[in-house]
Protein backbone atom coordinates (compact mmCIF):
# COMPACT_ATOMS: atom_id res chain seq x y z
CA UNK A 1 0.00 0.00 0.00
CA UNK A 2 2.84 2.34 0.78
CA UNK A 3 3.87 2.24 -2.86
CA UNK A 4 0.81 4.36 -3.53
CA UNK A 5 2.16 7.13 -1.39
CA UNK A 6 2.17 10.43 -3.27
CA UNK A 7 3.36 12.78 -0.58
CA UNK A 8 3.32 13.71 3.06
CA UNK A 9 1.40 16.04 5.25
CA UNK A 10 2.69 18.17 8.04
CA UNK A 11 0.94 18.72 11.30
CA UNK A 12 -2.38 17.32 12.33
CA UNK A 13 -4.74 16.29 9.57
CA UNK A 14 -8.27 17.68 9.61
CA UNK A 15 -10.70 15.20 8.12
CA UNK A 16 -12.86 15.95 5.13
CA UNK A 17 -16.29 14.44 4.75
CA UNK A 18 -15.72 11.71 2.11
CA UNK A 19 -17.49 12.19 -1.24
CA UNK A 20 -19.47 8.99 -0.73
CA UNK A 21 -20.95 10.55 2.38
CA UNK A 22 -21.91 13.72 0.55
CA UNK A 23 -18.73 15.77 1.03
CA UNK A 24 -18.07 18.61 -1.45
CA UNK A 25 -14.55 19.38 -2.61
CA UNK A 26 -13.37 22.56 -4.31
CA UNK A 27 -11.03 22.23 -7.29
CA UNK A 28 -7.54 23.55 -6.70
CA UNK A 29 -5.87 25.95 -9.08
CA UNK A 30 -2.15 26.36 -8.90
CA UNK A 31 -2.18 30.16 -8.71
CA UNK A 32 -3.99 30.35 -5.43
CA UNK A 33 -1.93 31.01 -2.35
CA UNK A 34 -2.36 27.73 -0.65
CA UNK A 35 -0.45 28.45 2.52
CA UNK A 36 -2.68 31.33 3.51
CA UNK A 37 -5.83 29.51 2.60
CA UNK A 38 -4.79 26.49 4.55
CA UNK A 39 -4.08 28.28 7.77
CA UNK A 40 -7.30 30.16 7.29
CA UNK A 41 -9.70 27.32 7.10
CA UNK A 42 -7.84 25.15 9.55
CA UNK A 43 -8.19 27.73 12.28
CA UNK A 44 -11.80 28.15 11.42
CA UNK A 45 -12.34 24.45 11.47
CA UNK A 46 -10.74 23.69 14.73
CA UNK A 47 -13.20 26.04 16.34
CA UNK A 48 -16.20 24.29 14.89
CA UNK A 49 -16.51 20.55 14.70
CA UNK A 50 -17.96 20.29 11.21
CA UNK A 51 -16.51 21.30 7.88
CA UNK A 52 -17.81 24.74 7.06
CA UNK A 53 -15.98 24.95 3.75
CA UNK A 54 -18.68 22.81 2.29
CA UNK A 55 -21.27 25.32 3.40
CA UNK A 56 -19.69 27.99 1.31
CA UNK A 57 -19.09 25.68 -1.60
CA UNK A 58 -22.71 25.01 -2.30
CA UNK A 59 -24.99 27.85 -2.91
CA UNK A 60 -27.76 26.24 -4.85
CA UNK A 61 -31.03 25.16 -3.38
CA UNK A 62 -32.70 25.92 -0.12
CA UNK A 63 -32.63 22.25 0.80
CA UNK A 64 -28.86 22.37 0.69
CA UNK A 65 -28.83 25.40 2.90
CA UNK A 66 -31.06 23.78 5.42
CA UNK A 67 -28.83 20.72 5.47
CA UNK A 68 -25.70 22.77 5.73
CA UNK A 69 -26.95 24.53 8.80
CA UNK A 70 -27.45 21.19 10.44
CA UNK A 71 -23.89 20.24 9.53
CA UNK A 72 -22.56 22.92 11.80
CA UNK A 73 -23.34 20.70 14.75
CA UNK A 74 -22.47 17.56 12.97
CA UNK A 75 -22.49 16.37 9.46
CA UNK A 76 -25.93 14.97 8.98
CA UNK A 77 -25.09 13.77 5.53
CA UNK A 78 -27.29 14.41 2.58
CA UNK A 79 -29.88 11.84 1.63
CA UNK A 80 -28.99 10.82 -1.92
CA UNK A 81 -25.59 12.15 -2.89
CA UNK A 82 -26.64 12.67 -6.47
CA UNK A 83 -29.70 14.02 -8.14
CA UNK A 84 -31.24 15.48 -5.07
CA UNK A 85 -34.81 16.62 -5.30
CA UNK A 86 -36.72 18.68 -2.85
CA UNK A 87 -38.85 16.33 -0.88
CA UNK A 88 -41.06 17.69 1.85
CA UNK A 89 -40.90 15.77 5.08
CA UNK A 90 -42.23 16.29 8.53
CA UNK A 91 -40.22 18.70 10.54
CA UNK A 92 -40.28 16.57 13.65
CA UNK A 93 -37.99 14.00 12.06
CA UNK A 94 -35.24 16.57 11.52
CA UNK A 95 -35.79 17.85 15.01
CA UNK A 96 -35.39 14.33 16.26
CA UNK A 97 -32.08 13.94 14.41
CA UNK A 98 -30.81 17.10 16.07
CA UNK A 99 -32.03 15.95 19.45
CA UNK A 100 -30.15 12.66 19.20
CA UNK A 101 -26.97 14.42 18.19
CA UNK A 102 -27.21 16.84 21.09
CA UNK A 103 -27.88 13.97 23.47
CA UNK A 104 -24.80 12.10 22.25
CA UNK A 105 -22.63 15.19 22.45
CA UNK A 106 -23.65 15.68 26.04
CA UNK A 107 -22.99 12.06 26.98
CA UNK A 108 -19.67 11.57 25.19
CA UNK A 109 -16.39 13.52 25.32
CA UNK A 110 -16.43 16.79 23.35
CA UNK A 111 -15.45 16.69 19.69
CA UNK A 112 -12.72 19.31 19.88
CA UNK A 113 -9.47 18.38 18.22
CA UNK A 114 -7.34 18.22 21.35
CA UNK A 115 -9.67 15.90 23.20
CA UNK A 116 -10.18 13.56 20.26
CA UNK A 117 -6.45 13.48 19.61
CA UNK A 118 -5.76 12.46 23.19
CA UNK A 119 -8.33 9.66 22.85
CA UNK A 120 -6.55 8.50 19.70
CA UNK A 121 -3.17 8.51 21.42
CA UNK A 122 -4.52 6.53 24.37
CA UNK A 123 -6.15 4.09 21.99
CA UNK A 124 -2.84 3.49 20.22
CA UNK A 125 -1.03 3.14 23.51
CA UNK A 126 -3.57 0.55 24.61
CA UNK A 127 -3.00 -1.34 21.37
CA UNK A 128 0.70 -1.52 22.16
CA UNK A 129 -0.08 -2.74 25.64
CA UNK A 130 -2.44 -5.42 24.33
CA UNK A 131 0.25 -6.57 21.96
CA UNK A 132 2.83 -6.61 24.74
CA UNK A 133 0.58 -8.70 26.94
CA UNK A 134 0.27 -11.23 24.14
CA UNK A 135 -3.46 -10.87 23.70
CA UNK A 136 -3.09 -10.96 19.93
CA UNK A 137 -1.68 -14.48 20.14
CA UNK A 138 -4.29 -17.04 19.33
CA UNK A 139 -4.99 -19.75 21.85
CA UNK A 140 -5.24 -22.77 19.58
CA UNK A 141 -6.30 -25.05 22.41
CA UNK A 142 -9.51 -23.05 22.74
CA UNK A 143 -10.19 -23.67 19.09
CA UNK A 144 -9.58 -27.37 19.65
CA UNK A 145 -12.36 -27.33 22.23
CA UNK A 146 -14.56 -25.46 19.77
CA UNK A 147 -13.86 -28.13 17.17
CA UNK A 148 -14.83 -30.86 19.61
CA UNK A 149 -18.13 -29.08 20.14
CA UNK A 150 -18.73 -28.79 16.40
CA UNK A 151 -17.94 -32.47 15.90
CA UNK A 152 -20.33 -33.37 18.71
CA UNK A 153 -23.19 -31.40 17.16
CA UNK A 154 -22.49 -32.73 13.69
CA UNK A 155 -22.34 -36.34 14.82
CA UNK A 156 -25.48 -36.01 16.93
CA UNK A 157 -27.25 -34.60 13.91
CA UNK A 158 -26.01 -37.48 11.78
CA UNK A 159 -26.93 -40.05 14.40
CA UNK A 160 -30.52 -38.84 14.70
CA UNK A 161 -30.83 -38.57 10.95
CA UNK A 162 -29.90 -42.26 10.68
CA UNK A 163 -32.41 -43.00 13.42
CA UNK A 164 -35.11 -41.15 11.51
CA UNK A 165 -35.65 -38.49 14.17
CA UNK A 166 -35.62 -35.73 11.61
CA UNK A 167 -36.66 -32.86 13.86
CA UNK A 168 -33.98 -33.66 16.43
CA UNK A 169 -31.39 -34.10 13.73
CA UNK A 170 -32.32 -30.72 12.26
CA UNK A 171 -32.06 -29.14 15.69
CA UNK A 172 -28.47 -30.32 16.13
CA UNK A 173 -27.59 -29.27 12.61
CA UNK A 174 -28.89 -25.81 13.48
CA UNK A 175 -26.74 -25.77 16.62
CA UNK A 176 -23.77 -26.81 14.49
CA UNK A 177 -24.31 -23.91 12.09
CA UNK A 178 -24.94 -21.48 14.90
CA UNK A 179 -21.60 -22.33 16.50
CA UNK A 180 -19.63 -22.52 13.27
CA UNK A 181 -20.47 -18.99 12.25
CA UNK A 182 -18.47 -17.58 15.15
CA UNK A 183 -15.30 -19.23 13.92
CA UNK A 184 -16.04 -18.01 10.39
CA UNK A 185 -16.31 -14.53 11.87
CA UNK A 186 -12.92 -14.88 13.56
CA UNK A 187 -11.41 -16.19 10.35
CA UNK A 188 -12.85 -13.33 8.34
CA UNK A 189 -11.14 -10.91 10.69
CA UNK A 190 -7.88 -12.84 10.43
CA UNK A 191 -8.22 -13.51 14.13
CA UNK A 192 -7.02 -17.11 14.07
CA UNK A 193 -3.62 -17.41 12.43
CA UNK A 194 -3.42 -13.71 11.38
CA UNK A 195 -2.41 -14.87 7.91
CA UNK A 196 -4.71 -13.56 5.24
CA UNK A 197 -4.81 -16.63 3.02
CA UNK A 198 -4.86 -19.28 5.72
CA UNK A 199 -7.64 -17.60 7.65
CA UNK A 200 -9.66 -16.94 4.53
CA UNK A 201 -9.48 -20.58 3.51
CA UNK A 202 -10.59 -21.65 7.00
CA UNK A 203 -13.42 -19.14 6.73
CA UNK A 204 -14.50 -20.31 3.30
CA UNK A 205 -14.48 -23.95 4.35
CA UNK A 206 -16.72 -23.12 7.28
CA UNK A 207 -19.00 -20.55 5.71
CA UNK A 208 -19.33 -21.91 2.18
CA UNK A 209 -18.58 -25.62 2.32
CA UNK A 210 -20.31 -26.33 5.62
CA UNK A 211 -22.78 -23.47 5.92
CA UNK A 212 -23.76 -22.62 2.36
CA UNK A 213 -23.16 -18.90 2.89
CA UNK A 214 -20.55 -16.63 1.34
CA UNK A 215 -17.55 -15.44 3.31
CA UNK A 216 -16.71 -12.87 0.64
CA UNK A 217 -20.14 -11.30 0.86
CA UNK A 218 -19.79 -11.19 4.57
CA UNK A 219 -16.39 -9.49 4.36
CA UNK A 220 -17.52 -6.83 1.96
CA UNK A 221 -20.51 -6.10 4.11
CA UNK A 222 -18.68 -6.34 7.39
CA UNK A 223 -15.79 -4.04 6.51
CA UNK A 224 -18.17 -1.24 5.72
CA UNK A 225 -20.09 -2.01 8.87
CA UNK A 226 -16.94 -1.72 10.96
CA UNK A 227 -15.94 1.61 9.42
CA UNK A 228 -19.27 3.42 9.47
CA UNK A 229 -20.97 1.57 12.30
CA UNK A 230 -24.63 2.44 12.83
CA UNK A 231 -24.79 5.11 10.20
CA UNK A 232 -28.27 4.96 8.76
CA UNK A 233 -27.30 5.61 5.16
CA UNK A 234 -23.98 3.75 5.07
CA UNK A 235 -24.00 0.74 7.39
CA UNK A 236 -25.57 -2.30 5.70
CA UNK A 237 -25.97 -4.06 9.05
CA UNK A 238 -28.74 -1.73 10.12
CA UNK A 239 -30.38 -1.37 6.71
CA UNK A 240 -33.20 -3.87 6.91
CA UNK A 241 -35.98 -2.02 5.15
CA UNK A 242 -38.84 -2.87 4.79
CA UNK A 243 -38.63 -5.08 7.88
CA UNK A 244 -36.86 -3.09 10.57
CA UNK A 245 -35.89 0.51 11.07
CA UNK A 246 -33.89 1.40 14.15
CA UNK A 247 -33.75 5.07 13.34
CA UNK A 248 -36.46 7.53 12.39
CA UNK A 249 -34.21 8.52 9.50
CA UNK A 250 -35.28 5.43 7.58
CA UNK A 251 -38.76 6.92 7.37
CA UNK A 252 -37.64 9.40 4.73
CA UNK A 253 -36.70 7.29 1.69
CA UNK A 254 -33.04 7.24 2.64
CA UNK A 255 -30.39 6.50 -0.01
CA UNK A 256 -28.18 3.56 0.89
CA UNK A 257 -24.60 4.09 -0.25
CA UNK A 258 -23.86 0.39 0.28
CA UNK A 259 -26.68 -0.99 -1.86
CA UNK A 260 -26.64 2.09 -4.08
CA UNK A 261 -30.37 2.44 -4.11
CA UNK A 262 -33.08 4.29 -2.27
CA UNK A 263 -34.54 2.36 0.63
CA UNK A 264 -38.16 3.14 -0.06
CA UNK A 265 -40.48 3.85 2.80
CA UNK A 266 -43.39 2.32 0.95
CA UNK A 267 -46.72 0.80 1.88
CA UNK A 268 -45.19 -2.55 2.85
CA UNK A 269 -42.61 -0.85 5.03
CA UNK A 270 -45.29 1.23 6.68
CA UNK A 271 -47.22 -1.84 7.76
CA UNK A 272 -44.18 -3.87 8.78
CA UNK A 273 -42.50 -1.08 10.70
CA UNK A 274 -45.66 -0.25 12.61
CA UNK A 275 -45.46 -3.68 14.23
CA UNK A 276 -41.71 -4.19 14.07
CA UNK A 277 -41.32 -4.63 17.81
CA UNK A 278 -43.69 -7.62 17.67
CA UNK A 279 -42.29 -8.95 14.41
CA UNK A 280 -38.65 -8.78 15.52
CA UNK A 281 -38.25 -12.37 16.73
CA UNK A 282 -40.57 -14.00 14.16
CA UNK A 283 -38.69 -12.34 11.30
CA UNK A 284 -35.29 -13.26 12.72
CA UNK A 285 -36.36 -16.91 12.57
CA UNK A 286 -36.01 -16.57 8.81
CA UNK A 287 -32.75 -14.63 8.96
CA UNK A 288 -30.66 -17.40 7.47
CA UNK A 289 -32.71 -17.50 4.28
CA UNK A 290 -31.90 -13.85 3.75
CA UNK A 291 -28.21 -14.68 4.13
CA UNK A 292 -28.49 -17.22 1.30
CA UNK A 293 -30.05 -14.57 -0.91
CA UNK A 294 -27.31 -12.05 -0.14
CA UNK A 295 -24.56 -14.62 -0.63
CA UNK A 296 -25.80 -15.73 -4.03
CA UNK A 297 -26.30 -12.16 -5.09
CA UNK A 298 -22.68 -11.49 -4.21
CA UNK A 299 -21.26 -14.57 -5.90
CA UNK A 300 -23.39 -14.60 -9.02
CA UNK A 301 -23.44 -10.88 -9.75
CA UNK A 302 -19.65 -10.79 -9.51
CA UNK A 303 -19.33 -8.33 -6.66
CA UNK A 304 -16.25 -10.18 -5.47
CA UNK A 305 -12.78 -8.79 -6.24
CA UNK A 306 -11.63 -10.22 -9.55
CA UNK A 307 -8.03 -9.15 -9.16
CA UNK A 308 -5.55 -8.76 -6.38
CA UNK A 309 -4.71 -11.25 -3.67
CA UNK A 310 -8.33 -12.31 -3.27
CA UNK A 311 -9.07 -13.11 -6.92
CA UNK A 312 -9.44 -16.85 -6.41
CA UNK A 313 -11.67 -16.69 -3.34
CA UNK A 314 -14.71 -16.28 -5.51
CA UNK A 315 -14.05 -19.51 -7.39
CA UNK A 316 -13.34 -21.43 -4.22
CA UNK A 317 -16.57 -20.09 -2.82
CA UNK A 318 -18.53 -21.24 -5.84
CA UNK A 319 -17.05 -24.73 -5.42
CA UNK A 320 -18.09 -24.46 -1.78
CA UNK A 321 -21.68 -23.71 -2.77
CA UNK A 322 -21.80 -26.76 -5.01
CA UNK A 323 -20.30 -28.86 -2.24
CA UNK A 324 -22.84 -27.55 0.29
CA UNK A 325 -25.87 -28.21 -1.87
CA UNK A 326 -24.54 -31.66 -2.66
CA UNK A 327 -24.25 -32.74 0.93
CA UNK A 328 -27.14 -30.76 2.33
CA UNK A 329 -29.55 -30.59 -0.57
CA UNK A 330 -28.90 -33.93 -2.21
CA UNK A 331 -27.42 -36.28 0.39
CA UNK A 332 -29.31 -35.11 3.48
CA UNK A 333 -32.59 -33.65 2.25
CA UNK A 334 -33.20 -35.71 -0.86
CA UNK A 335 -31.61 -39.06 -0.14
CA UNK A 336 -31.89 -39.43 3.62
CA UNK A 337 -35.37 -38.07 4.26
CA UNK A 338 -38.23 -40.06 2.75
CA UNK A 339 -41.06 -37.57 2.28
CA UNK A 340 -41.64 -33.90 1.58
CA UNK A 341 -43.35 -33.14 4.86
CA UNK A 342 -40.23 -34.16 6.75
CA UNK A 343 -37.96 -32.37 4.32
CA UNK A 344 -39.73 -29.05 4.83
CA UNK A 345 -39.73 -29.64 8.56
CA UNK A 346 -36.02 -30.39 8.48
CA UNK A 347 -35.18 -27.23 6.56
CA UNK A 348 -37.35 -25.02 8.73
CA UNK A 349 -36.14 -26.43 12.05
CA UNK A 350 -32.46 -26.41 11.13
CA UNK A 351 -32.62 -22.84 9.83
CA UNK A 352 -34.75 -21.49 12.63
CA UNK A 353 -32.53 -22.89 15.34
CA UNK A 354 -29.89 -20.41 14.18
CA UNK A 355 -32.18 -17.49 15.06
CA UNK A 356 -30.32 -16.67 18.31
CA UNK A 357 -27.36 -15.81 16.09
CA UNK A 358 -29.35 -13.11 14.35
CA UNK A 359 -30.50 -11.78 17.69
CA UNK A 360 -26.88 -11.73 18.85
CA UNK A 361 -25.70 -9.95 15.71
CA UNK A 362 -28.30 -7.23 15.91
CA UNK A 363 -28.27 -6.91 19.69
CA UNK A 364 -24.97 -5.12 20.04
CA UNK A 365 -25.87 -2.30 17.64
CA UNK A 366 -29.64 -1.96 17.39
CA UNK A 367 -29.97 -0.44 20.84
CA UNK A 368 -27.11 2.01 20.39
CA UNK A 369 -26.90 5.47 18.93
CA UNK A 370 -27.36 5.99 15.21
CA UNK A 371 -26.50 9.68 15.36
CA UNK A 372 -23.68 10.82 13.13
CA UNK A 373 -21.31 13.12 14.94
CA UNK A 374 -19.31 13.86 11.83
CA UNK A 375 -15.81 13.09 10.65
CA UNK A 376 -13.99 14.73 13.53
CA UNK A 377 -14.99 12.09 16.00
CA UNK A 378 -12.14 9.66 16.67
CA UNK A 379 -12.42 6.04 15.60
CA UNK A 380 -12.45 4.57 19.13
CA UNK A 381 -15.11 6.97 20.37
CA UNK A 382 -17.36 6.23 17.44
CA UNK A 383 -17.01 2.49 18.00
CA UNK A 384 -17.81 2.72 21.68
CA UNK A 385 -20.75 5.05 21.05
CA UNK A 386 -22.40 2.74 18.55
CA UNK A 387 -21.64 -0.67 20.07
CA UNK A 388 -22.51 -2.38 23.31
CA UNK A 389 -21.31 -5.48 25.09
CA UNK A 390 -23.30 -8.29 26.64
CA UNK A 391 -22.60 -9.26 30.19
CA UNK A 392 -22.49 -13.02 30.54
CA UNK A 393 -20.82 -15.59 32.76
CA UNK A 394 -17.61 -17.16 31.47
CA UNK A 395 -19.13 -20.60 30.99
CA UNK A 396 -21.67 -19.11 28.55
CA UNK A 397 -18.97 -17.60 26.37
CA UNK A 398 -19.30 -20.41 23.86
CA UNK A 399 -22.95 -19.54 23.26
CA UNK A 400 -22.21 -15.92 22.41
CA UNK A 401 -19.08 -16.85 20.50
CA UNK A 402 -17.27 -13.57 21.05
CA UNK A 403 -20.18 -11.41 20.00
CA UNK A 404 -20.73 -10.58 23.66
CA UNK A 405 -17.56 -8.46 23.50
CA UNK A 406 -18.64 -6.65 20.40
CA UNK A 407 -17.43 -3.22 21.54
CA UNK A 408 -13.96 -4.56 22.28
CA UNK A 409 -13.99 -6.45 19.02
CA UNK A 410 -14.88 -3.25 17.17
CA UNK A 411 -11.94 -1.46 18.76
CA UNK A 412 -9.43 -4.24 18.10
CA UNK A 413 -10.95 -6.57 15.50
CA UNK A 414 -7.97 -8.86 15.22
CA UNK A 415 -7.83 -10.00 18.81
CA UNK A 416 -8.73 -13.71 18.85
CA UNK A 417 -12.06 -14.21 20.49
CA UNK A 418 -10.84 -16.23 23.46
CA UNK A 419 -8.71 -13.29 24.58
CA UNK A 420 -11.52 -10.76 24.51
CA UNK A 421 -12.55 -11.32 28.11
CA UNK A 422 -9.06 -10.42 29.29
CA UNK A 423 -8.95 -7.43 26.97
CA UNK A 424 -12.25 -6.21 28.38
CA UNK A 425 -10.55 -5.17 31.63
CA UNK A 426 -8.03 -3.06 29.75
CA UNK A 427 -10.71 -1.45 27.62
CA UNK A 428 -12.76 -0.60 30.69
CA UNK A 429 -9.73 1.13 32.11
CA UNK A 430 -9.31 3.02 28.81
CA UNK A 431 -12.95 4.11 28.99
CA UNK A 432 -12.53 5.38 32.53
CA UNK A 433 -9.44 7.36 31.56
CA UNK A 434 -10.95 8.94 28.47
CA UNK A 435 -14.43 9.49 29.90
CA UNK A 436 -16.16 7.49 27.18
CA UNK A 437 -19.09 5.54 28.65
CA UNK A 438 -18.75 1.79 28.13
CA UNK A 439 -22.16 0.26 27.40
CA UNK A 440 -22.82 -3.21 28.75
CA UNK A 441 -26.15 -4.96 29.29
CA UNK A 442 -27.19 -8.45 30.21
CA UNK A 443 -28.60 -10.48 27.36
CA UNK A 444 -32.19 -10.00 28.57
CA UNK A 445 -31.80 -6.26 29.19
CA UNK A 446 -30.12 -5.82 25.84
CA UNK A 447 -33.08 -7.49 24.17
CA UNK A 448 -35.45 -5.22 26.05
CA UNK A 449 -33.46 -2.21 24.87
CA UNK A 450 -33.67 -3.35 21.26
CA UNK A 451 -37.39 -3.98 21.49
CA UNK A 452 -37.99 -0.60 23.08
CA UNK A 453 -35.93 1.07 20.35
CA UNK A 454 -37.94 -0.72 17.68
CA UNK A 455 -41.15 0.22 19.48
CA UNK A 456 -40.01 3.81 19.59
CA UNK A 457 -39.53 3.98 15.84
CA UNK A 458 -42.83 2.12 15.33
CA UNK A 459 -44.51 4.85 17.33
CA UNK A 460 -43.01 7.45 15.04
CA UNK A 461 -44.34 5.58 12.02
CA UNK A 462 -47.81 5.78 13.53
CA UNK A 463 -47.33 9.45 14.26
CA UNK A 464 -46.26 10.07 10.68
CA UNK A 465 -49.33 8.27 9.43
CA UNK A 466 -51.57 10.38 11.68
CA UNK A 467 -49.92 13.53 10.40
CA UNK A 468 -50.45 12.52 6.83
CA UNK A 469 -54.06 11.64 7.44
CA UNK A 470 -54.71 14.92 9.17
CA UNK A 471 -52.96 16.84 6.43
CA UNK A 472 -54.92 15.03 3.74
CA UNK A 473 -58.18 15.79 5.48
CA UNK A 474 -57.43 19.43 5.95
CA UNK A 475 -55.79 19.67 2.58
CA UNK A 476 -52.76 21.43 3.94
CA UNK A 477 -50.11 19.82 1.80
CA UNK A 478 -52.46 17.80 -0.33
CA UNK A 479 -49.83 17.66 -3.04
CA UNK A 480 -47.28 15.33 -1.58
CA UNK A 481 -47.28 11.52 -1.44
Amino acid sequence: MLSFQIGRIEGRWINFLPPIQGGRFRPYNKDEDCSEDFSDDSSQESSRPASPIFDEADENSSVRRRKSTSTTISSVPSTPPTGEKFEPRPFFLDARTQEEIILDISKYPPLDAARQESIRQKYRALDDRIRAEGLYNCNYFSYFIECCRYTLFASLSYYFLRLGWYGTSAFFLGCFWHQLVFTAHDAGHMGITHDFHVDTVIGIIIADFLGGLSLGWWKRNHNVHHIVTNSAEHDPDIQHMPFFAISHRFLTNLFSTYYERVMKFDAVAQVMLKYQDYLYYPILLFGRFNLYRLSWEYLLLGQAPKKGPAWWHRWLELVGQVFFWTWFGYAVLYCSIPDWRNRVLFVLVSHMVTAPLHVQITLSHFAMSTADLGVHESFPQRMLRTTMDVDCPTWLDFFHGGLQFQAIHHLYPRIPRHNLRRTQKLVMEFCRETGIPYAIFTFVDGNKEVISRLGDVAKQVRMLEECRKACAQQGVFSGHH
Binding site: M1, F4, P19, F38, I227, K307
Partner: protein
Protein backbone atom coordinates in the same frame (compact mmCIF):
# COMPACT_ATOMS: atom_id res chain seq x y z
CA UNK B 1 17.96 -15.35 -16.88
CA UNK B 2 17.74 -11.71 -16.00
CA UNK B 3 14.59 -10.53 -14.39
CA UNK B 4 13.31 -7.19 -15.61
CA UNK B 5 13.83 -4.35 -13.20
CA UNK B 6 10.52 -2.63 -12.76
CA UNK B 7 9.92 0.75 -11.20
CA UNK B 8 7.43 -0.39 -8.61
CA UNK B 9 6.82 3.08 -7.28
CA UNK B 10 4.03 3.68 -9.74
CA UNK B 11 1.02 1.38 -9.44
CA UNK B 12 0.59 1.16 -13.21
CA UNK B 13 4.06 -0.30 -13.50
CA UNK B 14 3.24 -2.72 -10.74
CA UNK B 15 0.41 -4.20 -12.66
CA UNK B 16 2.08 -4.19 -16.02
CA UNK B 17 4.85 -6.13 -14.39
CA UNK B 18 2.58 -8.65 -12.76
CA UNK B 19 0.86 -9.19 -16.10
CA UNK B 20 4.17 -10.19 -17.64
CA UNK B 21 4.59 -12.75 -14.93
CA UNK B 22 1.48 -14.58 -16.12
CA UNK B 23 3.59 -16.36 -18.71
CA UNK B 24 5.87 -17.82 -16.13
CA UNK B 25 4.19 -21.23 -15.69
CA UNK B 26 6.17 -22.11 -18.79
CA UNK B 27 9.10 -22.23 -16.44
CA UNK B 28 7.37 -24.92 -14.46
CA UNK B 29 7.44 -27.01 -17.59
CA UNK B 30 11.11 -26.24 -17.91
CA UNK B 31 11.60 -27.32 -14.33
CA UNK B 32 9.74 -30.57 -14.69
CA UNK B 33 10.72 -31.52 -18.24
CA UNK B 34 13.70 -29.36 -18.92
CA UNK B 35 17.35 -30.33 -18.99
CA UNK B 36 18.77 -31.31 -15.66
CA UNK B 37 21.15 -28.42 -15.65
CA UNK B 38 21.27 -27.01 -12.19
CA UNK B 39 21.06 -23.34 -13.13
CA UNK B 40 18.04 -23.79 -15.40
CA UNK B 41 16.13 -25.67 -12.76
CA UNK B 42 16.86 -23.19 -10.02
CA UNK B 43 15.88 -20.26 -12.14
CA UNK B 44 12.70 -21.86 -13.42
CA UNK B 45 11.72 -22.82 -9.91
CA UNK B 46 12.28 -19.29 -8.73
CA UNK B 47 10.28 -17.95 -11.64
CA UNK B 48 7.44 -20.29 -10.80
CA UNK B 49 7.39 -19.20 -7.18
CA UNK B 50 7.18 -15.61 -8.33
CA UNK B 51 4.38 -16.49 -10.67
CA UNK B 52 2.39 -18.11 -7.89
CA UNK B 53 2.71 -15.09 -5.71
CA UNK B 54 2.34 -12.61 -8.55
CA UNK B 55 -0.75 -10.80 -7.31
CA UNK B 56 0.08 -11.32 -3.74
CA UNK B 57 3.51 -9.88 -4.26
CA UNK B 58 2.37 -6.51 -3.08
CA UNK B 59 0.86 -7.62 0.15
CA UNK B 60 0.45 -11.19 1.13
CA UNK B 61 3.82 -12.68 1.76
CA UNK B 62 6.72 -10.72 2.91
CA UNK B 63 9.31 -12.53 0.83
CA UNK B 64 8.13 -11.28 -2.58
CA UNK B 65 7.58 -7.86 -1.08
CA UNK B 66 11.17 -7.83 0.00
CA UNK B 67 12.27 -8.90 -3.46
CA UNK B 68 10.25 -6.10 -4.92
CA UNK B 69 11.84 -3.61 -2.60
CA UNK B 70 15.25 -4.94 -3.51
CA UNK B 71 14.46 -4.30 -7.15
CA UNK B 72 13.23 -0.90 -6.25
CA UNK B 73 16.50 -0.09 -4.57
CA UNK B 74 18.43 -1.51 -7.52
CA UNK B 75 16.32 0.49 -9.94
CA UNK B 76 16.93 3.58 -7.93
CA UNK B 77 20.66 3.35 -8.24
CA UNK B 78 20.27 2.89 -11.97
CA UNK B 79 17.46 5.20 -12.88
CA UNK B 80 17.23 8.81 -11.80
CA UNK B 81 13.50 8.75 -12.64
CA UNK B 82 12.89 6.27 -9.87
CA UNK B 83 14.90 8.33 -7.47
CA UNK B 84 12.76 11.31 -8.44
CA UNK B 85 9.62 9.34 -7.76
CA UNK B 86 11.06 8.44 -4.37
CA UNK B 87 11.60 12.03 -3.50
CA UNK B 88 8.12 12.86 -4.75
CA UNK B 89 6.82 10.74 -1.94
CA UNK B 90 8.40 13.11 0.47
CA UNK B 91 6.74 16.19 -1.04
CA UNK B 92 4.66 17.99 1.53
CA UNK B 93 1.14 18.49 0.25
CA UNK B 94 -1.20 21.09 1.67
CA UNK B 95 -4.72 20.30 2.74
CA UNK B 96 -5.97 22.52 -0.04
CA UNK B 97 -3.97 20.64 -2.69
CA UNK B 98 -5.32 17.34 -1.45
CA UNK B 99 -8.83 18.74 -1.49
CA UNK B 100 -8.27 19.66 -5.12
CA UNK B 101 -7.12 16.14 -6.01
CA UNK B 102 -10.16 14.65 -4.34
CA UNK B 103 -12.32 17.11 -6.26
CA UNK B 104 -10.81 15.61 -9.42
CA UNK B 105 -12.09 12.23 -8.31
CA UNK B 106 -8.93 10.74 -6.78
CA UNK B 107 -9.29 8.46 -3.80
CA UNK B 108 -6.90 9.90 -1.29
CA UNK B 109 -6.54 9.25 2.40
CA UNK B 110 -3.94 9.77 5.09
CA UNK B 111 -2.01 6.99 6.78
CA UNK B 112 0.54 7.90 9.42
CA UNK B 113 1.12 11.33 7.86
CA UNK B 114 1.59 9.84 4.41
CA UNK B 115 -0.74 10.82 1.62
CA UNK B 116 -1.96 7.66 -0.10
CA UNK B 117 -3.65 7.67 -3.48
CA UNK B 118 -5.59 4.43 -3.64
CA UNK B 119 -7.17 4.64 -7.11
CA UNK B 120 -5.10 1.85 -8.64
CA UNK B 121 -5.41 -0.28 -5.54
CA UNK B 122 -9.18 -0.03 -5.04
CA UNK B 123 -10.25 -2.91 -7.23
CA UNK B 124 -7.62 -5.16 -5.71
CA UNK B 125 -8.65 -4.43 -2.16
CA UNK B 126 -9.79 -7.69 -0.61
CA UNK B 127 -12.10 -5.79 1.71
CA UNK B 128 -14.00 -4.10 -1.10
CA UNK B 129 -14.01 -0.65 -2.62
CA UNK B 130 -16.66 0.76 -0.33
CA UNK B 131 -14.42 0.47 2.67
CA UNK B 132 -11.84 2.70 0.98
CA UNK B 133 -14.43 5.16 -0.28
CA UNK B 134 -15.54 5.83 3.26
CA UNK B 135 -12.01 6.86 4.22
CA UNK B 136 -11.38 9.33 1.38
CA UNK B 137 -10.21 12.66 2.72
CA UNK B 138 -9.77 11.26 6.20
CA UNK B 139 -6.96 10.13 8.42
CA UNK B 140 -7.34 6.36 8.13
CA UNK B 141 -4.46 5.39 10.43
CA UNK B 142 -6.54 3.74 13.14
CA UNK B 143 -8.90 2.02 10.74
CA UNK B 144 -6.06 0.59 8.64
CA UNK B 145 -4.10 -0.59 11.63
CA UNK B 146 -7.21 -2.24 12.99
CA UNK B 147 -8.41 -4.01 9.83
CA UNK B 148 -5.85 -4.22 7.08
CA UNK B 149 -3.20 -6.87 7.38
CA UNK B 150 0.19 -5.97 8.75
CA UNK B 151 2.33 -6.70 5.72
CA UNK B 152 0.31 -4.13 3.82
CA UNK B 153 1.45 -1.36 6.05
CA UNK B 154 5.05 -2.26 6.72
CA UNK B 155 7.31 0.43 5.47
CA UNK B 156 9.49 -0.23 2.42
CA UNK B 157 12.29 1.66 4.10
CA UNK B 158 12.47 -0.51 7.15
Amino acid sequence: MRLPTPAPTSPEHHHAFSRQLHYFPLFLLLYVRGPAVHGVRTLSRLAFVRWVTRDASMISCRAPLRTLLMWQNMAETVSPAVAAARSRKETVLSRRQIEGMIAEGRHIFIFENRVIKADAWMKFHPGGEKAIQHMVGRDATDEINAYAFPSMTCSPDS
